[in-house]
């Protein structure tokens, strides 16, 4: 019979011993004491498998009502690789939005920065933030008030273009103006 009560001690003694143990003593082989939870062998299912409860966060999306007349319909600013300054060509676009926001001080925007997929997701999140901040600074210079603009970054997480091509990467190096 297996001697359960002496299991732990017997194991320790066996491990300390240098002489070999005759195999015909197998019936006396130490087995962990089953009357109490062995180390790492609890029988509580929650503790054992680390039960995980699922949370569902797939709620509804909010709809945006961006102004869509003229230049206001264009709300994306594209950046060169590793660049974080707003290219000169976007001046008319930014001026149009600044004018609208100046006339509608209650309107709020979020500038969402994006990057291509290469490199660390968190570092890309910070790079996307830099792009969003560059657009914000340009709009502030054009008279938009600080309270009207929030900058956030999606980093590489919400690519507009899929794939790992130069074209897709260029499409994703972008900041979007989103009206709340």
């Amino acid at each position: 019979m297996i001697n359960r009560t002496l299991a732990t001690i017997a194991t320790a003694l066996l491990l300390a011993a240098c002489s070999s143990v005759p195999l015909d003593e197998q019936k006396g082989v130490p087995i962990d004491d089953k009357s109490k939870p062995a180390a790492g062998a609890t029988t509580d299912p929650a503790a054992q498998t680390g039960a995980v409860k699922t949370v569902d966060a797939t709620g509804q999306q909010t709809k945006s009502d961006d102004p869509t007349t003229g230049l206001l319909a264009r709300r994306s600013i594209y950046f060169e690789f590793d660049q974080f300054t707003v290219p000169e060509q976007y001046k008319p676009l930014l001026e149009a939005h600044a004018k609208y926001l100046g006339a509608n001080r209650a309107r709020r925007i979020v500038v969402e920065g994006n990057t291509d997929e290469r490199g660390s997701r968190e570092y890309n999140l910070a790079l996307g933030q830099k792009r969003a901040e560059a657009v914000k600074r340009a709009l502030l210079l054009l008279g938009v008030t600080e309270v009207q603009i929030e900058t956030v970054s999606f980093g590489e997480e919400k690519p507009k273009a899929q794939g790992s091509t130069e074209e897709a990467w260029a499409e994703n190096r972008r900041a979007d103006i989103v009206y709340k």
Binding site: A41, A51, V52, V55, A57, E122, L125, E150
Partner: protein
């Protein structure tokens, strides 16, 4: 004495380059480099009574093979009964320096009694004998625990097969899941489902909670989530972006990256919320904080020198020192459990690969061999690194030994997976 016998046997196992004979569909093991030494072990099919729902000995075999530390000797298909005693000399003659055998028997109350014995066939003696009584749902966990005991007995290092990993699976363009799985990537459970991306899951040091970044409110917000209950709340939801959570070892404080000043900087925040206190002060990017095990040192990524490099700062706010000097792009640092090594992603000749840096000597080793590797984290025994890579345009998870000689891919997780983090030992 006994330990020495086995370690000597390990040392004389010889240089082996072949893939272990066990090639299960769910995993692929690559052994690379010269001088790889593997301990030859036979895991005999366990005796089964009462139709157990898990193939316990197969799971043990898969675990040991995946570690790269063992060469599995063919043990046939016939279960090896407890009686009569195994002929250890015969197993030794077949090339096995160790033999594991066991039984899985259903008890009257529906639980299963799992017993295993481990024999040293060189010293011809039993070196381990354990019994576990568990419900059927925990048979996989018990198999992993048995593999852990065998691994520890034969290598002297605790096994990590019974630990867990977290990662993000993208199932469709608008379906993301934060999944917790066994260390082999099997048995995934969803902790969170969302239409929007989830990134940067971080384990609390006791393994009961996760912090992560969720975009479910159309901006990055840091959440803290208790796994057993599903209770969660937004820890950092400030103006701008909130990201890169890292737990202090005491579980009371987290480091996060916030954009309160417009640019991304590192702050400390109480685990129950409150006002964040700024740690880094630059006009550029400081992000990806990671606490050293001493809780007094923070590693992070900064572009203060131009491109991104790893720095460390003594808390609450000393003068940061640069840690990485090879290449122009080093990011996503995580220290080893003993604090002696650092793993991170370094771009070398256009390829993003996992690096391991010996902090004392400055010796850097590239341990992955693909080109788009991300998010490395150490196993709790410090012997392997889990990371994300790509295969055929799909995100997959892989592990690599800290010397880079052994790499495996976890094929368990389904979908496009990324952002893995290896959890701690379970108490």
């Amino acid at each position: 004495m006994q330990r020495r016998t086995l370690l000597q046997a390990l040392g004389t196992a010889g240089a082996l380059s072949a893939v272990p004979p066990l090639a299960r569909a769910q995993l692929r093991v690559e052994i690379s480099g010269v001088g790889s030494q593997q301990f030859p072990i036979a895991i005999a099919p366990f005796v089964r009574e009462g139709n157990p729902p898990q193939d316990v000995d197969a799971i043990v075999r898969a675990d040991l093979a995946r570690s790269g530390m063992f060469r599995l000797i063919d043990a046939g298909t016939a279960p090896l009964p407890d009686n009569p005693a195994p002929d250890l000399a015969a197993w030794r003659a077949r090339g096995a320096d160790a033999l594991a055998m066991g039984t899985v028997a259903r008890l009257a109350d529906g639980n299963y009694d799992v017993r295993f014995r481990l024999f040293d066939t060189v010293a011809t003696k039993q070196v381990e004998g354990l019994s576990y009584v568990v419900p059927a749902a925990d048979l996989r966990t018990v198999a992993h625990k048995i593999a852990d005991r065998i691994y520890e007995k034969l290598t002297g290092v605790p096994g990590v097969f019974a630990t867990r990993i977290v990662y993000v699976a993208q199932l469709s363009p608008t379906a993301f899941e934060l999944q917790i799985a066994d260390a082999d990537g099997v048995n995934p459970q969803a902790a969170l489902r969302s239409r929007e991306p989830i990134i940067s899951p971080a384990w609390s040091w006791d393994g009961t909670r996760l912090a992560y970044v969720s975009f479910e409110s159309r901006k990055p917000v840091v959440y803290v989530h208790t796994l057993a209950t599903g209770q969660r709340r937004a820890l950092a939801n400030f103006q701008g972006s909130n990201s890169a959570p890292a737990w202090a070892p005491d579980g009371r404080t987290l480091a996060v990256a916030l954009t309160l000043t417009g640019n991304t900087q590192i702050y400390l925040i109480d685990a129950n919320g409150g006002t964040p206190s700024r740690v880094t002060r630059t006009a550029g990017i400081d992000t990806e904080p990671a606490f050293a095990p001493d809780g007094k040192t923070l590693y992070f990524t900064s572009d203060r020198g131009g491109g991104p490099q790893i720095y460390r700062v003594a808390l609450p706010g000393g003068e940061p020192q640069r840690v990485t000097f090879n290449g122009d792009y080093n990011v996503s640092a995580r220290p080893s459990p003993d604090g002696k090594l650092l793993t991170y992603v370094g771009r070398r000749e256009g390829r993003f690969r996992v690096q391991v840096l010996d902090l004392a000597s400055g010796q850097e080793t590239t341990i992955s061999d693909t080109g788009r590797d991300e998010s490395p984290s150490f196993a709790p025994n410090g012997r392997q690194v889990l990371y994300a890579t790509e295969l055929g345009g799909r995100g997959v998870l892989a592990t690599a030994a800290i010397d880079g000689r052994v790499r495996t891919r976890l094929a368990g997780p389904q979908g496009d997976v990324r952002e893995p983090a290896w959890g701690p030992f379970l108490k």
